[in-house]
């Protein structure tokens, strides 16, 4: 078991997300830095979607009551196992009784604590992903974040050989990311000068960003097209509300909405966006869907992901 001594600012249980219920209004949830999450499970030879703890900004403390092989990936946090240093992006052994302290993040925003076999949480509609807005998921099943004193079931395991992510695959979260935009939805209904603002200007991450959407601040983008009837929204959709400040929709997005959208950010770039702190800048570049699909297919193949629907409707 893992006992939560200190959850930190905001720590939630996330697995690959709830798939197949969009038409009933349930969003996907899941890790918003999917890349860091997938590396954690990869290192521990878990199923690609095994549940982990998503930790915002660090400051968490967990006591293990059984031995476990673990890995922390994502934001550049300091790790202490009792009093000894440990490194992120690699596996290490935790013995029963030891305390793992996850310090504040030096860069990046979200760290993922993965445990061999995954954290055991009862799924609701096929997933234990925590979605606060839907009062769904997590180990209480009500969308709440981890709290002091919570206990989480894990399988006892041993870390036989340290597995580490090669340097070249470790992202540098302090650099401004370039986000690939696949034009879509109402892209053609924006005036050319308006839709090109994204490519020619830097946008800053707003303080008002969360797992639903990352809000940007920069030159306002005007939409003079027709008002919209509510329609589906994808993860990565770039919404333009009436104030012209774009919002990139993330995993906890609402399933339908009526704001015009310029298109979608490549899923491969969203992980970097998820690690940006308020005030950091991002740039955009236009990408072709065919190219993104080729890259994504390779990526899925590497991590052993089979795109699937958890339900049969």
């Amino acid at each position: 078991m893992i006992e939560v001594i200190e959850p930190g600012m905001y720590a939630t249980i996330q697995d690959f997300g709830r798939l197949g219920y969009l038409k009933k209004g349930l969003t996907r949830g899941g890790p918003i830095d999917e890349n860091a999450f997938l590396w954690g499970n990869y290192l521990l030879k878990n199923e690609a979607g095994a549940a982990q703890i998503e930790i915002v900004l660090g400051g968490s403390k967990f006591k293990f009551t059984s031995a476990a092989a673990v890995a922390v990936c994502g934001a550049d946090v300091t790790l202490k196992l009792d009093n000894e240093d440990r490194s992120i992006w690699e596996t290490f052994q935790v013995e029963a009784g030891q305390v793992l302290t996850i310090g504040p993040a030096r860069s990046g925003l979200r760290a993922y604590l993965a445990v061999a076999g995954g954290i055991q949480v009862k799924p609701q509609w096929g997933s234990c992903a925590t979605v606060k807005r839907e009062q769904l998921g997590g180990h209480r099943g009500d969308g709440s974040a981890l709290q002091k004193g919570d206990t989480l079931a894990i399988e006892a395991s041993n870390c036989e050989l340290t597995q580490r992510i090669p340097w070249r695959y470790r992202p540098d979260y302090s650099k401004p990311p370039v986000l690939g935009l696949i034009p879509g939805f109402q892209y053609d209904q924006f005036a050319m000068a308006e839709r090109e603002k994204l490519s020619f200007h830097e946008y800053k991450i707003s303080q008002q960003s969360d797992r639903m959407g990352i809000r940007l601040e920069g030159p306002a983008i005007e939409y003079a097209g027709k008002g919209l009837v509510s329609e589906g929204i994808n993860i990565g959709s770039v919404q333009v509300p009436p104030n012209g400040q774009p919002i990139i929709m993330m995993n906890d997005r609402q399933t339908l909405g009526g704001y015009p959208k310029l298109g979608n950010i490549s899923p491969l770039d969203l992980s970097r966006l998820a690690q940006c702190r308020p005030g950091q800048t991002v740039q955009f570049t236009r990408v072709e869907v065919a190219q993104v699909q080729q890259q994504l297919t390779k990526y899925y193949d590497f991590f052993g992901i089979t795109p699937a629907c958890q339900t049969d409707h």
Binding site: L19, K23, G141, I182, P183, P267, V289, Q293, P307, T311
Partner: protein, 233 residues
């Protein structure tokens, strides 16, 4: 408007049948949804809305170009709409306790239309409504159309908390709030009809294309069914 197929991300396309709310477009959406489910395409899930259908597919099986071509062919092969499309879906009767205590906007709507609160209730129960889409929040069903003699604009300033089960009207739409949340719709009553109770595994049994009728019940019936008369803040 001719149907158009537009990119909706690395793993999805969206099909527009209209840029307005219309019964025919919504019927087309569901017709295509059913046809896609019967097709050989590796569809992961779909999101039917008022007049559009978003389609997520397996990109390890199909490219964007292939999916557009296949969806276009399926749209072209759809038969003309007939009475069967209109009659599809289940019919649900939703019991509502209409009262000022749980429906603080009854009087406002009555005043707007120069009628009594009782007439507002009668009008809401008089017509049957089509479920046009589910979404925005879990179990939230957009239903229409609300007759002209009952329509009311959204509140100027949204309430901070609308209790779960609140029955609401905004312009031509009516809906029920599945969870307590902020909202700007006119609230006219409350129901115990199960919409979303994640702890119990309850998720709205309404589907797009279903028909809904509202039935007025008494306070006693409402409370006996487990209803709460929790007042507005």
């Amino acid at each position: 408007m001719k149907p158009s197929i537009v990119n909706a991300g690395a793993d999805a396309v969206i099909v527009y049948f209209s840029d307005e709310i219309s019964l025919a477009a919504n019927q087309r959406v569901l017709q295509l949804d059913a046809a896609l489910a019967d097709s050989d395409l590796a569809i992961l899930e779909t999101v039917p809305a008022y007049s559009s259908l978003m389609v997520y597919y397996d990109i390890t099986r199909h490219s964007d170009t292939d999916v557009r071509g296949a969806v276009k062919a399926i749209i072209e092969s759809l038969p003309a709409l007939d009475e069967r499309d209109a009659a599809q879906g289940q019919t649900h009767v939703i019991p509502v306790y209409y009262d000022e205590t749980v429906g603080p906007d009854l009087a406002r709507i009555a005043e707007l239309h120069g009628c009594s609160a009782e007439e507002v209730i009668e009008r809401h129960c008089r017509d049957s409504y089509r479920v046009y889409a589910l979404g925005f929040a879990p179990g939230f069903a957009y239903m229409g159309e609300v007759a002209e003699d009952l329509q009311a604009p959204r509140l100027d300033s949204p309430r901070t908390r609308i209790p779960a089960g609140s029955v609401a009207i905004a312009e031509r739409q009516t809906a029920i709030y599945p969870l307590a949340s902020p909202g700007g719709w006119n609230i006219i009553g409350r129901t115990t009809f199960p919409l979303y109770e994640p702890q119990k595994g309850i998720l709205n049994q309404l589907n797009s294309g279903d028909t809904v009728r509202f039935k007025a019940i008494s306070k006693d019936e409402f409370i006996a069914a487990g209803g709460s008369v929790e007042a507005f803040e």
